[in-house]
Assembly symmetry: C2
Homo-oligomer: 275 residues x 2
Amino acid sequence: MTAPDRKKLAINQATTMTQWTLREAIEGYATKDIRGISVWRDKLAECGVDEAARILKDNNMTVTGLCRGGMFPANDDAGRQAALDDNHRAVDEAAAIGAQCLVMVCGGLPDGSKDMIDTRKQVADGLAAMLPYAIDAGVAVAIEPLHPMTAADRACVNTLEHALDLCDALGDGIGVAVDCYHVWWDPKLEEQIARAGNRILGFHVCDWLVPTVDLVWDRGMMGDGVIDIPRIRGWVENAGYRGFNEVEIFSERNWWKRDPTEVVDTCIDRYQHFV
Amino acid sequence: MTAPDRKKLAINQATTMTQWTLREAIEGYATKDIRGISVWRDKLAECGVDEAARILKDNNMTVTGLCRGGMFPANDDAGRQAALDDNHRAVDEAAAIGAQCLVMVCGGLPDGSKDMIDTRKQVADGLAAMLPYAIDAGVAVAIEPLHPMTAADRACVNTLEHALDLCDALGDGIGVAVDCYHVWWDPKLEEQIARAGNRILGFHVCDWLVPTVDLVWDRGMMGDGVIDIPRIRGWVENAGYRGFNEVEIFSERNWWKRDPTEVVDTCIDRYQHFV
């Protein structure tokens, strides 16, 4: 693989989540000529949606995604309605800041449940219920399959194949976010990325550390782990993807403790060599 | 589901790994009228194979599996030959104690490698190389798909589908071990268990804790987590499996710190209600 296009480097603000507000992240990335950012809703709320839209525009920043919608499964109708309402709000926010997609973390087992089949049905139903609203708002919905180690408590959609089966059933307006960290292990990955084709709405990169000491908050900087990211990027590009390559790192023990400018500089450096 | 047959309760000695030698485990389980055990090779070596065979026979104990063969991928031919030699020794040991199968933990990326495709090819080649020896010895080989969170450093065979694809390619003499902990999250599990049919050589149970604090050593006792084990047992039995239900728990923070008799009593109690 040739090195990736520098102009396609985006950073998910979770990468500097503990250090920077949304304004600081936008300005901090833009200072380094990074023009893509994924935004988190808690940070967006803190900033205010209108103010955020202004700062993003002033910095010529593409919003590669809004994190996150989803979390559909619940133990009762009230819980499911609350989830639907929240997903509608997420769509509104995504539209307001011009996000290229709303990233869906679909949700895991409701409290006390062991029923993965019903939980997956609730996810399918939830996506079907919110999709027309997203289509009306012009917001693309991206199902992000999460690593199987998150199946119980975060997302019961754990393979690209499963996400694409959902997309097939749901029709237009919905696609997938391919995050290397979640899918790198999958022996069917190449085949399923090809199947995804133009439904790939986002491509996320970071690395799998050996050892990994936490199931959620221990992602690695590209180059520090074992994922062959260029190979996966090649498959994604062969499928037709031409969007940003978005760095998304949750790292309690390392990157979240560092100076955020150093983190951004490291992302830029590693991007050239390991993405 | 009706409760499982008490006579089909087996315990993998890893469940009392820190507390008991092989002799102590055999006698400790047999005292509670548990007649199935899976044996680990380090404990077997410590005891001596001939002596272990005698103790097993004296206690009327079925060896549901020997843990473990596999670990095929290496960076050079010498490493691969060493792995093959070790697998032949494992077959000899399995034959000597009459194990119903040799459990294969296939191995992850060799040091420094990021090439999952080549690593998987090495696993397929390694299985093909050792299988004739196992067939000659009358030892059934059981590929155990491990959870995807172990893909880098333990096993690059992470779904039952992948394991069965390998079995299809390899022919007779090889099957799978279905461990609930590793496969419970898989949306294709029911379908793939049906596909497996009489190739299911072992069925392992424990539970997935929320939260899980370690990627390897934090398994839960049945009933303490979120896996619907009876449902999976039903699928396995529908596929024709009539063997033991084997409790296998690695638990640094809990069960490995307890009195082993209490652990066994808890296994017996939970088996009736949560398997």
